[in-house]
Symmetry: C2
Subunit: 513 residues, 2 copies
């Protein structure tokens, strides 16, 4: 071929080395990738190589056809909240994630907690009932399968009147060097453990797992430590003050090991060929309903819902206790801010918990969460106004307003869910707030359309700076949200816009004049 | 080299043939150009070839450092309005362009007329006084240089009391086959002819030009024909009813030939090696001040300004008499609409005419042009409101509003010019209208920032459709306008935004999150 080198001068600024063959100039992908923010890689299959060029890296998850307040939440069955690096661990006190985002020491981030709950709820609906192995139901018969660490260990079945069920009473040494009452496993598929127990000594529950030939022990102990480690021992605190009370514990021990390894106490940190070797119970107390399952999604879901019930403040909100700097020096929120997205996601969680359990406690918490929507950002609430015309519920209620799109729409989803189940005054209030929000969204949606993608927020308009273009994974969230809105609202705007935004992901830009 | 072919699969949709050399993949520019809307060409200089890649094709014209109401308008010295294909010709009646845009039969488009005037005004300031050759001042001495076509032709100098000047009285045959009173030239540089004349017969003025060995005759005759042709004869109508009145005619005969050739009467249509062969005057009448010059910018400018004085309606506007379909079926304006841009550009023209001439007629017309700014689009005016909060002066006052950016800013420039010279109530009114506009612009400017370029209008927001991305030449107009605003208004927003919009022209996009 007549291929030869030619210098490409880029915008009279710098040069890259290209190739020329007859009338065609070939530009190196290393340049194209960086200059145009696109992606590509060589794929080899059956000896044939090809180069896969892709405009975007993210995929659109399609929400359910019918939006129900007890249905799958968006496409959250694809989410795995707790595996994210910024989740320190799932607490053993309340079973909710602790976030290290924006503050390394960790804090409870209501949005993350709701998404944790909603993802497990959605996974449960998609996956169906988990495979469950009962290790203890309370019968004497169960005990044949359990080993005693020493002759001092005792265990017997008795009827517990408060629980109205047979339970196992046990007594072993408290020492962690003791295996206590032990159930041996060689389990490679199921890592979800649930159990009910009450202890009156300084007892503990331990899960032992082998990863890549090394054995790790995860101890659930009566301390206030969130998570800690010592060599290949990992500790989760159940809370010091929880002795003498029945505790329902649901753990994904695989995830607990992952979070423990991330603390880097042990040189051996590979997660490989994981085997669940067994479970130990120590101390003096009672235990019932020990199960091993493929998943404990509904336990995790209710842990999240209960957290919202137990931590709602007098304004109906879940204040976020870390500083959030959306734009340094310009858009900052000191600790104690509320988020419309948190309020809305909590509603979606609580409404599902209400419909699943029938307990009005969840419905009341969801209804109380409405109040913050009517308080302006300036007064510590979440309501912003665009051009003094449109109400907007702020994920980050900064002044000047930030108008984050995805957070606003998530808040509308929460309002929508509550609207389906609310009655009387609450129904009136939620309908009004929801309708105002939808009106604003329809008027303002296209402000987020860049013609080649979307904007994450409207900081460019409110502050007069460069637009904050949404990276592709936020862009796909926008699209999923529009698809969901197209099922909630009878307006072709949402589907039409979703389709165009999908086109942008393949480089099909809006036309220029 | 180890260069070989590899198939590039684009977004799983289609394939293009690429080249691979070791770990680099080279993509053909023919693909890149179309996919990313960029430009490039091979340049060879001194035997070295290189490939010039450019993100955009347009250049930013920088406005003057100081904005004055009698100064250069923006960077309009670079404009050549009349050379555009959509300008049918410059009328010989009033000396203004006729537009064929949106209606092939032609109409007077006030924006085009103002830009014609402002460009000549600006060229005059940049170029300085033209080189002028006087062919007739009215003295007997002038006549020695003119040839007589026949013995029946007479010409003599006399004092004209109404003009208070010597003029030449002439009498020749009216026939176009007669050369009348003739001035021969072999002019290759100067094509601007001006003269004052009054005729009481069916006389004419003819300019003869040679282009590419063929001779063409441009006849200015007493008819209502705009422009017509017959072989290599081109006719411009002076207006039937203008006999017996002094006429000041200023023609760029080069441009007149160009427009005549565009009518396609002659097979020979090349503009090449143009020579101005001479000028003929026929009929019975008086003539004075015949000049040949490099340009007649101020004549053209005052022709435009006078057009605005003579065609302003009782509402102070210049209605546009053709249908404008900005967005078919959605944003349409039936004939008779006003344009804030037309009003504003007219103001910029009229204020300059006032300052140049001292004639209050121009100032009054500019002041009267304000009225339309206070009438809403719905009521036939030009004032739109964004989100019921911001006044916006519409280039195209459609319902729903279109919010065209460049037209709005041009209207602000007109208001600014008038504000510098208005007094009393007019000053109060123009200041209020201008300030409201600037307030809106500051609030809304960033809505036009796409992060990679700009939007031409806000149709995407008002109609809920794909954004109308501004092509690069509109983008550069936006930038020039921001540079001008940065000199008018003490707000760093304009310069900061202008700089970023310039960056977009080199592919330096705003960041994504
Ligand atoms: Ca039991
Ligand atoms: Ca004279």
């Amino acid at each position: 071929s007549s291929m030869h080198e030619i210098t490409c001068e880029i915008n009279h600024e710098y040069s890259v080395q290209c190739r020329r063959e007859e009338n065609e100039v070939y530009m190196p992908f290393s340049f194209i990738k960086k200059y145009f923010e696109v992606y590509g890689e060589i794929q080899v299959s059956e000896g044939d190589e090809k180069f896969e060029f892709s405009h975007s890296y993210s995929e659109v998850h399609v929400p359910p056809e019918v939006i129900r307040p007890d249905g799958i939440f968006m496409s959250f069955e694809h989410y795995n909240v707790e595996i994210r690096k910024r989740v320190k661990c799932i607490t053993a006190t309340e079973g909710v994630p602790v976030s290290t985002q924006w503050e390394a020491s960790g804090h409870f981030y209501p949005i993350q907690i709701a998404q944790f709950g909603l993802s497990h709820y959605s996974k449960h609906l998609v996956e169906g009932k988990p495979t469950v192995t009962r290790l203890i139901t309370g019968n004497d018969l169960d005990l044949d399968l359990w080993a005693y660490s020493s002759s001092k260990t005792t265990a017997r079945s008795l009827f517990d009147r408060t629980r109205q069920s047979d339970v196992i009473q046990f007594k072993t040494s408290d020492s962690l060097s003791n295996t206590g009452l032990q159930y041996e496993l060689k389990e490679k598929n199921n890592f979800a453990v649930t159990l009910d127990f009450k202890m009156i000594s300084n007892g503990s529950v331990t899960a032992s797992l082998k990863s890549d030939t090394y054995t790790f022990h995860i101890h659930y102990v009566f301390s206030n430590t969130l998570i800690s480690c010592d060599g290949r021992n990992i500790f989760f605190g159940l809370g010091e003050n929880r002795r003498g009370k029945w505790i329902h514990l649901a753990r994904d021990v695989n995830m607990d090991l992952l979070k423990g390894l991330a603390l880097k106490c042990s040189k051996h940190r590979k997660m490989k060929d994981l085997t669940f070797l067994g479970l130990s119970i120590r101390g003096q107390g009672w235990v019932d309903n020990v199960t091993l399952a493929s998943a404990a999604h509904m336990d995790h879901f209710f842990d999240a819902a209960n957290w919202f019930v137990n931590h709602q403040d007098s304004r109906g909100g879940w204040p976020i206790k870390v500083t959030r700097k959306l734009l340094s020096g310009v858009m900052e929120l000191p600790p104690g801010w509320y988020s419309a997205m948190a309020q809305g996601q909590a509603m979606s969680t609580l409404v599902r918990a209400y419909l699943r359990s029938g307990s009005k406690v969840y419905l009341q918490a969801a209804t109380d969460a409405l109040k913050i929507f009517e308080i302006s950002s300036a007064q510590g609430g979440v309501k912003a106004r665009f051009a003094n015309s449109y109400d907007w519920y702020e994920e980050y209620p900064t002044t000047p307003s930030s108008f984050v799109l995805n957070g606003f729409i998530f808040s509308l989803f929460g309002l929508y869910d509550l609207k389906q189940v609310a009655e009387g005054q609450a129904l009136e209030t939620v309908t009004r707030i929801y309708n105002e929000g939808i009106k604003s969204l329809k008027a303002m949606l296209l402000m987020y359309d860049s013609g080649t993608g979307t904007f994450y927020d409207l900081r460019h308009i409110t502050v007069g700076i460069a637009p904050n273009r949404a990276r592709w994974d936020y862009h796909t969230v926008h699209i999923s949200q529009l698809l969901q809105l197209s099922r909630m609202e009878d307006d072709p705007l949402f589907m039409r816009t979703a389709k165009r935004w999908q086109d942008y992901m393949q480089g099909k830009w809006s036309t220029h004049n």
